[in-house]
């Protein structure tokens, strides 16, 4: 970063050369570039939305049509000619998707709330208080972010079942509410708030609690929203751990409920698989559409400092 800055200022000091040629070329180049832009954009829309459209269309098709419509490729592939709601009604009655949706919602909301509740004070301590080994402590916390959950499933299940949390909704989210990711995100945001602010509050005799809730938190709302949204996303989309930790149908979560149900000799009902996929995706999609600026802003906050 420093080198680049030096180069730029160095160059800037020399007399500027005229950019006439650049201007002359501009008009035709701009038209070409604009066409290029729209072509690329159209390709992006197709590439990123076609699979979703196909799933959506298929979820309204009867078993006989889903795969018959794929080849040869035609409009029929993406638009149901004889739409039916039967896949959705079946998903709710047979696969207990309704119950699973409620369970997932409970788990995700609790996980988000507890994650934030734990991460805010921890981030406060790591950025606003000074004690030895602060950096080391942060490192110790962050290293857990690198551990693939699938690799520690066995010991984790031992621990959770020894705590009598297996087959409970608590067992699904308790292991993950101390989230190094949320802490990382919040720590970045907390560091951006000038220390002068809390020093001023300290002079006024404010307690740490007050500084945290009145000074810091109001200033990091976007980061909090991001942490909450990302946690919701992780929680909602988790698959292997809920599968392992939950046994009874009453406690099942939505990703597990919709996962392809393969039984020897039994044919999966693909229409139901796709309607399930739509049902499981819709909540996060809606959340994303309405709150996407927080996603972006949170990534900005965590991103620029690497």
């Amino acid at each position: 970063m420093s080198r680049a800055m030096v180069t730029v200022t160095g160059r800037g000091a020399s007399p500027p050369r005229a950019g006439v040629a650049l201007v002359r070329r501009t008009r035709s180049a701009r038209a070409a570039r604009s066409t290029g832009y729209w072509l690329i954009s159209a390709a992006l829309v197709v590439i990123f939305l076609a699979p979703f459209l196909w799933i959506l269309a298929s979820s309204f098709k009867s078993q006989a049509h889903i795969f018959a419509d794929v080849s040869p490729l035609s409009v029929k592939t993406f638009i149901p000619t004889e739409p039916t709601m039967s896949n959705y009604s079946a998903a709710f009655t047979n696969e207990h998707v309704g119950r699973a949706l409620i369970n997932s919602l409970i788990v995700s909301v609790l996980q988000v709330a507890l994650t934030v509740l734990l991460a805010v004070p921890a981030a406060y301590a790591l950025t606003r208080l000074k004690f030895r080994l602060q950096g080391l402590m942060f490192g110790i916390i962050l290293v857990t972010f690198m551990i693939p959950a699938e690799a520690v499933v066995i010991p984790l299940f031992q621990i959770v079942s020894d705590l009598h949390l297996s087959n409970t909704l608590y067992g699904v989210f308790m292991p993950f509410i101390a989230s190094p990711f949320a802490l990382f995100l919040l720590r970045q945001a907390f560091r951006d708030i000038p220390l002068d602010l809390d020093e001023a509050a300290l002079i006024d005799g404010a307690s740490h609690w007050k500084i945290m809730t009145r000074v810091i938190v109001p200033n990091v709302r976007p980061a909090l929203a991001t942490a909450a949204l990302m946690t919701f996303l992780f929680s909602w989309n988790a698959f292997l751990w809920p599968l392992i930790v939950i046994q009874s149908q009453n406690n099942q979560l939505v990703q597990v409920a919709i996962a392809i149900n393969t039984v020897p000799g039994e044919l999966p009902n693909w229409g139901q698989v796709f309607s399930g996929a739509v049902i499981a995706t819709l909540p996060v999609l809606i959340l994303f559409i309405f709150l996407q600026r927080y996603f972006v802003r949170g990534i900005v906050a965590s991103g620029i400092k690497g």
């Binding site: 799933i55 621990i159 802490l183 996407q292 906050a301 690497g306």
Partner: protein, 316 residues
């Protein structure tokens, strides 16, 4: 971008006080600070200790044993035998190679394409915000849904991909059913799934570059190409490090692709380490050995990200 500049100011202002002894104002409150630190950190650390460190500890302990998931009577201490066995295990060695290759594939495609998309959609053109959202949609979709979707896209005879190739009069491909195409096919799927995330990181990075730099260079006569290489890219260095490290870690942890789409095949060409660990533990009855592989994976992740951080930070 406002956030970025305030961040730098904040960092500069905050950091100056940090490394030394407690600031003059805080010194009188040392005890208060200690109590607060404990109250703030202990709940977090306790939970982390129970569910993460203890779990890792158990995993390390397990890696020194040969034992059975079904019955604890079979437990036997074997020292480092599980670790030495890895060197004789063709499948495990292959899975390490495949995983590293996959990570490489993901990084070399995702970083330039993520950056390209960010440059394209950073412009104030019509539709750019909408396009950004569209590219980001797969990121918020669950892996289960994405992999199920792509299983059908890649189906050789009736899949969407081959139907499209057919409609374009191109030869059909075998995708997941042949060793040479399976891994690239998964790289492409992962690219589709995650490129939105890299793009967002790059967008954030781009927006934090003060426009004066580029303007100055443009006035200076530098073309867009040289402006990109000489100014934008060096200034994006930290973002690039982040994208490379994060996408590598994600790739090294790949699991669901193998689990739902390929079961590690064909010929072990998509047998990712985590999936190999999973099958060793649950299907082949070797949880001790699987734990040793998990420890190896963790060490690989730490080493690879350390190397990347060093190499990319040192690159000037």
């Amino acid at each position: 971008m406002a956030e970025a500049s305030s961040a730098d100011i904040g960092q500069a202002a905050g950091r100056r006080g940090l490394p030394g002894r407690p600031g003059r104002l805080l010194s009188g409150r040392r005890r208060d600070t200690a109590v607060t630190a404990v109250v703030c950190l202990v709940p977090f650390l306790v939970l982390l200790a129970i569910f993460q460190y203890f779990a890792i500890g158990l995993m390390i302990r397990n890696s020194l044993y040969s034992y059975s998931l079904l019955n604890s009577n079979f437990s036997k201490f074997v020292g480092f035998a599980n670790y030495t066995e890895i060197f004789h295990d063709h499948l495990a060695l292959q899975s390490i190679g495949v995983t590293l290759l996959f990570a490489l594939g993901v990084v070399v495609t995702q970083v330039p394409l993520g950056l390209g998309l960010a440059l394209l959609l950073n412009m104030r053109r019509r539709g750019a915000p909408l396009l950004r959202s569209i590219v980001f949609v797969p990121v918020v979709t669950s892996v289960v849904v994405v992999t199920t979707m792509w299983t059908f896209i890649y189906a050789p005879s009736s899949g969407l991909a081959n139907s499209t190739l057919h409609a374009l009069h191109l030869p059909e491909l075998k995708f997941l059913t042949t060793p040479h195409q399976a891994l690239p096919a998964l790289v492409i799927m992962t690219l589709w799934e995650e490129v939105g995330f890299s793009m967002m990181l790059f967008l954030a990075g781009l927006q934090s570059i003060p426009t004066e730099f580029e303007e100055a260079a443009a006035v200076d006569g530098a073309g867009p190409w040289s402006r990109f290489w000489k100014i934008v890219l060096p200034l994006l260095n930290r973002t690039t490090v982040l994208v490379v490290v994060v996408s590598t870690i994600f790739a090294l942890q790949a699991f669901t692709q193998s689990y739902i789409m390929t079961q590690g095949g064909p010929d072990g060409s998509t047998n990712f380490m985590v999936y190999n660990i999973y099958t060793d533990a649950f299907n082949l009855g070797n949880p001790g050995y699987a734990s040793a592989l998990s420890v190896v994976l963790l060490i690989i992740i730490i080493i690879v990200s350390a190397i990347q951080m060093r190499a990319l930070r040192g690159r000037r």
